[in-house]
Symmetry: C2
Subunit: 216 residues, 2 copies
Amino acid sequence: MTRISESTVRRLSHYFRVLEEVRAEGKRMISSYRLAEREGITSAQVRKDLSYFGSFGRRGLGYNVDHLRNEIQAILGLDHRWKVAMIGAGNVGSALLAYRGFQEQGFDVVAVFDSDPSRIGKNVGGLVVHDVAVLPDIVRSHGIDLGVIATPLRAAQEVADALAASGVHGILNFAPRKLFVPSHVTVRNVDMTMEFESLSFALTQGRAGRRRRSGD
Amino acid sequence: MTRISESTVRRLSHYFRVLEEVRAEGKRMISSYRLAEREGITSAQVRKDLSYFGSFGRRGLGYNVDHLRNEIQAILGLDHRWKVAMIGAGNVGSALLAYRGFQEQGFDVVAVFDSDPSRIGKNVGGLVVHDVAVLPDIVRSHGIDLGVIATPLRAAQEVADALAASGVHGILNFAPRKLFVPSHVTVRNVDMTMEFESLSFALTQGRAGRRRRSGD
């Protein structure tokens, strides 16, 4: 298979979501135009993206919804369940454990870890919090695929090192710092703090601009 | 002030976080080298970023931690509190309301909205869920600055339109779709679903590669 860019993968995620939606509406066929809709993607781009994976569509008829959905699901690896370890049972970790969306997508949190003695042994979201010291054993014995880092900033790199050394291949990082990992590990970052600060900055500069223009 | 790029703003966020950390450790001065640390930033880049906002540092001595922290806090607009409306009281919205981190940063959720009659009137995270129909009135009467969209995909654009029309200037979007907004509105996207799918894709392709190499 040709090497697929991250932006193609993101568009495949989008197509998958649209297909789930039209499937729920009971539609059988979908056009590349409809798949392109709402994301500022052209229908030519849709056809190009899908052509990497074989020819799904028929000219003038569009794509069969079920078939295309199943193909993209398999391409994205969403046709089986993934085992996830959550590291950090504080604010972020607890909120993520309370969120049911990941499970619906096929990501099962099977273990939770923390280094804080006051949290270890407690029950969070139906799971007992383990000491992070036993992470390598549990990752290996459970065959955990992914780690979610929801620790404070300063613990994040050490946790990433432990995950990588234990054989985890993917990390979703909520700690607001860049992680350095071996090449066999993929990291994705979600930095809500930074997004909020970036909005705050935009609003502050906007306000200053509006004040200048209105002569305050 | 020169127009500041988004990547500069993100680095300022990072510096702010490091400064908060060293302040908590009781340090009085910090070098550009230490500020650069951990993010793959050079110390020359740090000095360049900070030079946009005036000259804070002294050669050979570094930066005064308190002073620089306060300056960056003001630049990022974190020296006062922002009023936030949460739209969507489902999985994502509830998890975000349970998360205390935003409040610590100065972002107060003052109103919650949903369109689902079974949720309207209920108490979520200490706030009564309003009908999204009254959003414009409440945004105006409370002077709400920011909206957080935690609705299903299909409702997100309509909510963004209502927020923009009500005078909100910033939107943090958790719905997995692109939003179209007027130029006075800034949008930042957090798409956890897509990050998970992107990891799932990387792991699936990695596995296929490992299987091929090991001849399974």
